[in-house]
């Protein structure tokens, strides 16, 4: 096996191990129902994280994800109140996401400002914009939303694959294609690996940077749409601090935050591991708030250490 698949394989192994441990500890855990829930409940995080994967692979970071999700949500809700069809509203918001992302990318490259700060300003700006749109949470009531909510593919066992999960898997396929089979994807890895070298090798840095953040914007807006449909509402505080979960999902999936190394597929499992950690804690159920927070940290730690251990031990054996 090629060495570069190792972190991904280790992530999958750890996910399965954690899932089995949960199954051994709690009744009703080891079921397709729980698996389907993890897929659906984390769908928007994973979609956002897929966008973040591109940004991180390019050596950048996008902190505006959570606010974008909130902003898309409130706009969808307000547009619904104004009588728009949710799909039309979604299309508009996705265009907005792409445009906003592209603008961030342009500012980052043209003004040579660090992405952390530009997107942090984006975090403030979009959250502030949410409050401008509405302070209340607004329901989205439309037949399409009910249709979206009830559409599902049954899995063997009690579980179902909900529409959110389906959208998420489709985005994943799209993202894998973009990252690994297009020139743009290769350029993203290149500027993340070494921007100066990439520039000298003839990669168009500005176009790639703008493209990367536009892709990020697309996926976070899509995540916002999924979130809005999933909760059938818009809430100005929705998605707060979600950017951290998304970044954590990317990194847990084996992508290096310094850019240039990683895989989109890993992000799926990174996101599922975060969901699994929460689900395990909820199934346990007898922890108080303090221990809930502590144990999510401890589980995160355990996962990272296990992952490292797996990767390094395979690495040693692999080359001998």
């Amino acid at each position: 096996m090629n060495r570069k698949y190792l972190p991904l394989a280790a992530t999958i192994v750890v996910f399965i191990a954690l899932f089995l441990v949960g199954g051994a500890m709690y009744k009703n855990f080891l079921s397709t129902l729980v698996l389907g829930n993890i897929l659906a409940d984390n769908a928007f995080i994973i979609i956002a994280a897929i966008g973040a994967t591109f940004v991180i692979l390019s050596g950048g970071i996008d902190l505006s994800i959570g606010s974008m999700i909130g902003f898309v949500g409130v706009c969808m809700a307000v547009l619904d109140r104004m009588g728009w069809h949710p799909l039309a509203a979604a299309a508009l918001m996705i265009c907005f996401g792409i445009a906003y992302g592209a603008m961030q990318g342009f500012v980052i490259d043209f003004c040579d400002i660090q992405p952390f700060i530009v997107t942090l300003a984006g975090l403030f700006l979009l959250r502030g914009a949410c409050f401008m749109v509405t302070l209340d949470s607004v329901p989205i009531r439309h037949d399409f939303v009910d249709l979206y909510a009830s559409a599902r593919i049954p899995l063997p066992g009690r579980g179902v694959l909900r529409s959110s999960a389906i959208v998420m898997l489709a985005s994943l396929a799209l993202a894998i294609f973009i990252a690994h089979f297009t020139r743009f994807g290769t350029n993203v890895y290149a500027i993340g690996g070494d921007k100066e070298s990439a520039r000298l090798m003839g990669v168009n840095i500005r176009r790639t940077t703008v493209g990367v953040y536009a892709t990020g914007g697309f996926f976070s807006a899509l995540a916002g749409v999924v979130y809005a449909l999933y909760t059938s509402s818009g809430y100005p505080l929705a998605g707060s601090t979600l950017e951290l979960s998304a970044i954590a999902a990317v990194v847990l999936g084996g992508t290096l935050l310094t850019g240039g190394v990683g895989m989109v597929a890993g992000t799926l499992f990174g996101g599922m591991i975060l969901g699994l950690i929460s689900t395990l804690i909820i199934f346990h159920g007898s922890l108080n708030s303090a221990w809930i927070m502590i144990s999510s940290g401890v589980l995160l730690f355990a996962f990272i250490v296990l992952h490292r251990f797996l990767v390094s031990s395979f690495n040693l054996r692999g080359t001998s």
């Binding site: 079921s31 607004v138 601090t241």
Partner: protein, 280 residues
């Protein structure tokens, strides 16, 4: 009985007390409580409710983070034949039969109580500074609405400055410090209304440090009635606090357990009374 309880978070003094009360009094009622803390995120809450359904609990109690977005998951609970009870905040669903009942205090009423007390105290003539809760959060919105509904009746009552103190002592203190400067030492201000006690406690500190007399120069009214505000009331530094009970296990569990034993139609809102406490 196994009951799943999805809590909003653990911010401030009030909510941890609420959570602790729920977990402790569960023992008295012989309930196996599955406690989940959403840390202020609706997605965590939806996850928790789904996990409760997957676990097959006997009933689910939700203290919602937001009012909207519940139709879908409540339908899933109904399909799994698990009754859902709301505590604390309300939900906005089309089909009210999706939950059994809401057992809680009334945020709007809390705001109104505070407003009414202040109107009586100031004889309907008062310039007020307001310390809001987290922007966009349900209690902040409701308490503001309730309060404004009452003072709207009195032409001479007016909110002259309002800012968010994020429900924290620190935030309340910072905001009050700024108010003190922007209103020239609270010149002409007759009252401070805070959406929770923690912010009011911060405000009291800020006023004392600026050489003002909270509770005397300015009427201090807030919501929650946590232990620390009791001391302030005793010292005369605060004037009134609307109690939001944290020991609500005794109100909630009997209703839930009764319902599990014999499911009967209940009122959609069982109101836990909010009392107004003053210095005396």
């Amino acid at each position: 009985q196994t009951i799943g309880f999805s809590q909003v978070g653990s911010e401030g003094d009030w909510r941890p007390a609420f959570s602790a009360n729920m977990q402790e009094s569960a023992k008295d009622y012989g309930v196996d409580l599955k406690f989940a803390n959403a840390q202020g995120k609706q997605e965590e809450q939806l996850r928790a409710v789904r996990a409760f359904i997957a676990q097959g609990v006997d009933a689910i109690i939700i203290a919602p983070v937001v009012v909207t977005g519940w139709d879908q998951v409540l339908r899933e609970a109904r399909d799994a034949e698990i009754p859902v009870f709301l505590v604390d905040r309300d939900v906005d669903v089309e089909d009210k039969s999706l939950y059994v009942t809401r057992i809680s205090a009334d945020f709007n009423l809390e705001g109104k109580l505070a407003g009414a007390w202040l109107a009586a105290e100031s004889k309907g003539d008062c310039k007020i500074v307001e310390l809001q809760g987290t922007t966009g959060s349900a209690p902040a919105i409701e308490r503001k609405k309730g309060f404004e509904a009452v003072i709207g009746q009195f032409p001479a009552m007016e909110i002259v400055a309002t800012q968010s103190g994020d429900f924290t002592t620190e935030g309340g203190k910072k905001v009050m410090e700024a108010f003190i400067k922007s209103t020239d030492n609270l010149d002409g201000i007759c009252a401070s209304f805070a959406h929770n006690d923690n912010m009011q406690l911060g405000a009291i500190q800020a006023m004392k440090e600026a050489g003002l007399n909270p509770g005397k120069d300015v009427q201090m009214v807030s919501v929650d009635y946590v232990p620390a505000i009791k001391d302030a009331l005793d010292d005369g530094e605060a004037n009134a606090s609307v109690e939001l009970r944290s020991a609500v296990g005794e109100f909630i569990y009997p209703v839930v357990l009764d319902y599990i034993k014999n499911p009967a139609e209940l009122d959609k809102w069982i109101v836990i009374p909010s009392d107004l406490h003053t210095a005396d």
